[in-house]
Subunit: 288 residues, 2 copies
């Protein structure tokens, strides 16, 4: 995982040079090179290798999914959204560069992500499929839909809204891009239809797993430990897994999702499965 | 031109149904179906026909460029950007739906634009090329770069900054998407390399033409006539063609650009050239 994270960092550093217009590029680099766990790009690279592709093939796609993720964080933090001052232990992008530059750099990251996909050394058919997958994961049925649901979820009654609605929101907000990250890797790596579907199902478990753990951390850790404002979901009255099923059942759910994720990878080469299992463990056991 | 505008309206209406999440879709439809001159999608359809393609082929791409254009208008109007209350004679998107929904619907339009491109019935090679062209026209070397330059252009000395800097800003802010609109049409219509280049050069003239006329209108018309806030560039101290070369020379420049645009279309079938010439005339003679 560490070597893959380094590969991604180097590729991102190269993909976003410090050039004119300077302020936009500074903001893009500030937001994306600041750190972060690189879960999505690592998932993309590992899925590519799982189906027999070389990591190098999927590197531009790995950069693309991290760019989309960063764009969504920049937006989430804006004053009119979550109004957050702290991200990864540092001031948020709009705090440093101003709101207008933050919004513009988010748009630039989104456009650059699609440009990156066209650089992939795969057949045009596979690239078109990857573009479609990524676009769907962002748009009105994906990330954006999840963010919209999240905005209006404050004050909802968990008994009435229930687990189904909560899962739909998270599947969209967090899950859709995680799913696309893995599927892009499998598409570009030359996976068969069956392999791509297995990877998709694995990634869906990871998406839920990620969100349940996020909800647990948000309520059980301090802002300092998280590197971002803790407890804000509770304060905003947002719907979380803890609110719906409590801490103990949430922890049990984490274990179940880990088992499910592993099951979806049956049939693949045991050595190639290891990085993905490690990633699932990392997500389940992370502290921030 | 009217029949092409109707084709685009119908296709946009279909591409963005009124579905969940409702508020996002309402905002997307409000912003894109409100009207507007549809110059970019018409340019896309006409360029497709110019190189011998059927209008139907380029319709998803025509929708895509209008989605990108609408996204850029939503962003331009935001409080942290131009802070505009009026667009096409109606309240701006954030005024009606709030800032967060406006920003999210802009992101959804951008993602949907790329999804639309993957629906085009052309070879995967041509689709990948179209995706690359569109992504470049939006990103840090295109639209976003132009918006960033525009934000910082207030208070610049026109004598010092000069025509070159002004043209670069407009080429990016307005020109890049107009260029991409035409080039997408030519790519999807099956144009040869030479034909695509001619269309690109024509579109570059149109891009400048559009901006010079915009600058003239901004200073010589009322807000009521324009359907948007007039004189705002002057108030903001922004660099405009009128500031750099005065009204008379700006009008002469309009004539020169019309001639140049026409010249780039030499060699094409005379009948197929007519819609593009009509579009250039429309841009030059428009009143809002």
């Amino acid at each position: 995982m560490i070597s893959k994270a380094k590969t991604v960092y180097r590729a991102l550093d190269e993909a976003i040079p410090l050039t004119e217009p300077l302020k936009i590029h500074e903001a893009m680099r500030y937001a994306i090179l600041a750190g972060g766990k690189r879960i999505r790009p690592i998932l993309c690279l590992a899925a590519c290798e799982l189906v027999g592709g070389n990591e190098r093939l999927a590197t531009p796609a790995a950069c693309a999914v991290e760019m989309i993720h960063t764009m969504s964080l920049i937006k989430d933090d804006l004053p009119c959204m979550d109004n957050d001052d702290l991200r990864r232990g540092k001031p948020t992008t709009h705090k440093v560069f101003g709101e207008s530059t933050a919004i513009l750099s988010g748009g630039a990251l989104l456009a650059l992500a699609f440009e990156q996909l066209t650089e992939v050394e795969a057949s045009s058919e596979r690239i078109v499929r990857a573009v479609k997958e990524l676009a769907k994961s962002i748009g009105r049925e994906g990330l954006v839909a999840g963010q919209a649901m999240d905005l209006t979820s404050g004050g909802l009654d968990p008994n009435e809204t229930g687990l189904e609605q909560l899962e739909l929101m998270h599947l969209r907000k967090t899950g859709s891009l995680l799913e696309a990250s893995a599927v892009l890797g499998a598409i570009i790596g030359g996976g068969s239809e069956e392999e791509i579907e297995k990877v998709r199902n694995f990634a869906r478990c990871i998406g839920l797993l990620f969100q349940v753990v996020d909800d647990i951390l948000d309520e059980t850790k301090t802002s300092e430990e998280l590197g971002k404002t803790a407890g804000k979901d509770k304060i905003a009255g947002k719907l979380t897994y803890l609110k719906v099923m409590g801490l103990e059942k949430s922890k049990e759910f984490v274990k179940k999702l880990k088992r499910d994720a592993r099951e979806h990878l049956q049939g693949f080469d045991k050595d190639q499965v290891k990085p993905l299992i490690a990633l699932a463990d990392f997500i389940a056991n992370r502290n921030n």
